[in-house]
């Protein structure tokens, strides 16, 4: 057996190129004769589209074309984009046309595209395209949208309510009729974005000699994108190659197939020249999908000892103008509420509402941060009302490890019963509390109060369904050079996919990690693929890498045994060589074996030898892998300014067996930063006409290096019994409970003033307003 890589803190193979300016992002790909694109976008949240006059734009030197909906090829000219993840509760197919026809539904919706010699000229010309609109009433808030007489987000639809559904089990009516204590809360979580630092990007080039259309896109899902594009262009899949090269962050919004990914290839085909479009940041604020934006009204029923009896309520999900990914965020949210707790009865009625805002699709966490916020804030309320410690309230209600596997009583969004495969939630919380020195916090808090400082502590627990199927694939092939080619439909936007899959394959095959040549995010390299979302790649692609690696290992051993004249059990694979002490020669290299297996005319393969030293595995998990964790935030609040400083942040995290702790820690830390943004800063604001108000990084604040502490991270590993590697997903857990823990900590810090918070982001203005409303300043100045 070769070197042990699984579980090792291996530094990343991706790093040297990215550190030296040799990364290859879409805008770094240089093609001869490339033209540049700029989109003409709706300035209205809702309007009828009356006409487009391209003549002023076409008169500008360097402009090659202005393309509107009518200039597109069928079927994309006339048919709306396909919807992924259908759900029977959705009442109307609600996806956009790649270029608007007749009506526009949100500010920024693409109406036409200008193709020119340079981006500078394209932008000049886009401004010169004259578009006539007839403004229609717009709705920008889902609470308004469900009122009688509200403006219709889509003129042709009779209602803004696109879907209603209920997730429930147990007899909530009976529970709530008899419960000793019932506490009700209203929660809201902001709308925010993924805000990858690389914006979206598309480059398309058609080779007339082979009729191959190659599309480079900064996407998380090139295989799905290729399929969508093939449908929209009416081309065969095999005549399209989609490549996601280096991608500068994903976080969910880049999992979506966007109109620009269809229009740019169509333009390249029409003009017979490569065409490139690089989104600018303002476009990203207007047009890249967003998330959260849910209003919850929920109640918890508990007994006198704070044991949960039931949870029930209603949730409004603002889906924006379309549902490209169906209703999975509100669905996931509804299924995530029970979390790590025994809840005998549960009912959540969800309403998905159309507004004239950019669509919502998953952003890191995908509905879970909202659900965890609701559940954890309810438990904080229980602790406050019953005068119990917050950790103790949670302790009383945890599902115990011996109850695993635990059937919650709901169906998850993968269509399978929600059954937690494994986990030790009490141990997770105890680990985090110990590391956070929770027991001594009240002393710290008293000492701080004596100095006039307000510090507080908050807890957030969660269970997260990760590793969703249907599958991901990995091909492993030994090459005549002796190196090992690996191809996968999994993609890489910073998760270290290349490194982790290389660790798994190298260990199985017996080669050096550096001798793995990996192709990621290229539909030309592997037939089937799904891509990066739902923290799914370690489970799906990781196990495929294991299975493909095992198969190639067996092939190597079998062939080497024949060539060296020894038993298979005498063969050891290490460092790219098959070694047998007793053989007719001491070793044979992988390259020589590959040449044999891949065919030398005139030389027969041994009987039973498959061609190629190659195997493709598509691992298909049968259900989600449930990871879990506890976050503890300790904060200081400046009561005079409302400023919040996170003093200390502790995470105990169970993502199953850890492939590479360096990378998992990085995922957790980065996820927490996103959660800090959700809790304190990020807020995509719209006015009453659904006009976006925050379209730059000066208006929409991302967490900075001075805002995010270095987390203390503990791994509580419970191996997933359902997949061979024992892994669970790690990409989103850092974000999910962060807002719950941080807002809980702020409320705790300000407990002398008895102020309560039920929303994110909690900006300084809101904190000061709450303190003012609670007459805090009178108390402070009197003291």
């Amino acid at each position: 057996m070769g070197a042990k890589h699984f579980g090792a803190r291996v530094t990343r193979l991706e790093d040297p190129a990215l550190l030296s300016g040799r990364g290859r992002f879409v805008d770094d790909v240089k093609l001869a004769g490339v033209l540049r694109a700029c989109f003409v976008r709706s300035p209205y949240a809702h309007a009828r589209l009356l006409g487009i006059d391209a003549k002023p734009a076409l008169a500008i030197p360097g402009v090659h074309a202005v393309i509107a909906a009518e200039d597109l090829p069928d079927p994309m000219r006339s048919e709306a984009m396909p919807m992924l993840l259908p759900n029977p509760s959705i009442s109307a197919l609600c996806t956009q046309h790649v270029l608007a026809r007749a009506e526009v539904y949100y500010v920024g919706q693409p109406v036409a595209v200008v193709i020119a010699d340079t981006r500078y000229i394209a932008e000049d010309a886009a401004a010169a395209v004259a578009v006539q609109y007839d403004a229609l009433p717009a709705v920008g808030d889902c609470r308004d949208a469900i009122e009688d007489g509200a403006p219709q987000a889509h003129a042709a639809l009779g209602s803004n309510v696109l879907s209603t559904f209920q997730l429930a089990y147990g007899d909530t009516d009976a529970v709530f009729a008899n419960a000793p204590h019932i506490f009700e809360e209203e929660f809201w979580q902001h709308r925010g974005g993924g805000m990858a630092i690389e914006t979206r990007a598309v480059l398309a080039s058609h080779d007339a000699a082979t009729d191959l259309l190659t599309v480079w896109s900064g996407t998380q899902t090139p295989h799905i994108g290729r399929r969508m594009l093939a449908d929209l262009l009416g081309r065969e899949l095999e005549s399209i190659r989609m490549i996601a090269p280096d991608v500068g962050g994903g976080f969910g919004p880049k999992a979506i197939f966007y109109p620009e990914e269809a229009v740019i290839p169509a333009a390249a085909l029409k003009l017979g020249r490569p065409v490139k479009w690089i989104e600018d940041r303002r476009e990203h604020f207007l047009c890249a999908t967003q998330e959260r934006d849910q209003y919850w009204n929920v109640a918890i029923a508990v007994d006198a000892e704070a044991k949960i009896l039931g949870v029930r309520g209603r949730m409004l999900h603002d889906t924006g103008a379309f549902v490209p990914w169906g209703i999975i965020m509100p669905y996931i949210a509804a299924a995530t509420v029970p979390g790590p707790y025994v809840i005998p009865a549960y009912q959540l009625d969800t309403m998905v509402v159309l507004t004239n805002k950019v669509p919502t699709t998953p952003v890191r966490g995908a509905g879970r941060p909202q659900a965890v916020f609701a559940m954890e804030r309810l438990l904080d309320r229980v602790a406050r009302e019953l005068q119990l410690d917050r950790a103790e309230v949670r302790r009383k209600n945890f599902i115990q490890p011996e109850q695993m596997p635990y059937e919650v009583g709901l169906i998850f969004r993968d269509g399978k019963p929600l059954v937690y495969d494994s986990g030790d939630y009490p141990k997770g919380q105890e680990t985090a509390l110990a590391q956070a020195e929770y027991e001594s916090f009240r002393e710290r808090q008293r000492a701080a109060l004596d100095e006039g400082r307000f510090i507080g502590i908050g807890i957030g627990n969660y269970v997260e369904g990760t590793g969703l199927g249907p599958f991901e694939g990995v091909t492993v092939r030994v090459m005549p050079s002796g190196k090992v080619a690996v191809a996968t439909g999994a993609t890489n936007q910073g998760q270290g996919t290349r490194t982790t899959l290389s660790q798994i394959v190298a260990e199985q095959v017996g080669c050096r990690i550096e001798d793995i040549v990996m192709t990621i995010g290229d539909t030309g390299a592997i037939a089937q693929g799904v891509g990066a979302f739902a923290s799914r790649q370690a489970v799906n692609a990781g196990n495929s890498a294991l299975l493909a690696g095992q198969s190639v290992r067996a092939q190597l051993v079998a062939l080497a045994a024949r060539m060296l004249g020894v038993k298979e059990s005498d063969i050891d694979l290490d460092n790219g060589q098959a070694i047998a002490e007793t053989g007719n020669k001491p070793m044979i290299g992988f390259g020589e074996l590959a040449r044999l297996a891949q065919g030398i005319p005139g030389v027969s393969l041994p009987a039973g030898q498959a061609a190629g030293l190659e195997h493709t595995a598509y691992y298909t998990p049968q259900q989600a892998a449930y990871c879990s964790g506890t976050h503890v935030a300790e904060v200081e609040v400046d009561a005079m300014t409302g400023g919040v400083k996170i003093l200390r942040y502790t995470v105990a995290h169970d993502s199953g067996r850890v492939i590479n702790p360096l990378i998992v820690d990085g995922q957790v830390q980065g996820g927490v930063a996103h959660g800090i943004g959700n809790a304190l800063f990020e807020w995509m604001q719209y006015d009453e006409n659904a006009q976006p108000l925050t379209t730059s990084f000066a208006d929409y604040l991302l967490p900075m290096a001075t805002d995010v502490p270095t987390c203390a991270i503990a791994h509580v590993e419970t191996a997933n019994p359902l997949n061979p590697l024992g892994v669970k997903g790690a990409g989103e857990g850092g974000t999910i409970p962060a807002a719950a823990a941080i807002i809980g900590a702020i409320e705790d810090a300000l407990s002398p003033f008895d102020v309560h918070f039920a929303e994110t982001p909690l900006t300084p203005e809101r904190i000061v307003a709450a303190l003012r409303a609670a007459s805090a300043y009178e108390k402070l100045f009197a003291a």
Binding site: D27, I197, E198, G248, G496, G666, T710
Partner: protein, 161 residues
Amino acid sequence: MSKQPTRVTVNGKAHARIVEARLTLADFLRHELGLTGTHLGCEHGVCGACTVLVDGQSTRACLMFAVQANGREVTTVEGLTPDGGLSVLQQAFVDNHGLQCGFCTPGMLVTLTELLRENPAPSEDEVREALSGNLCRCTGYAGIVKAALDAAQRLRDAAEG
């Protein structure tokens, strides 16, 4: 559009071009000179991904026109990279997981190069303050801060050694 002759020394190499007055320095570096290590994340001067050194000072290449760099010396991430290897700072990024997607990384490296030149023994707070003009969405900054402190230590050790 009016065009102007522009002479810029980039990473020690002199370049003469006739460019549009409105061409940004970032687009000049990327598309005229093919130095695509300098990235654009916001084009309004906040994210810091496009940070380069102009006459040794960290500068947003998206907020400066190429013609304004006439007669000046520009250093990009390519210029910070030794032939056939990585610098001490770059290696510290590898060892401390200072990058994930790598898109903001060139700007981070340029900013930290300036910091470590001016302050060879920065505190963690000073590192964070210096980095506050560079946004990273992936890492939560912990690995970057650690890499900067690690690199500072290694550079001091080497200077003393």
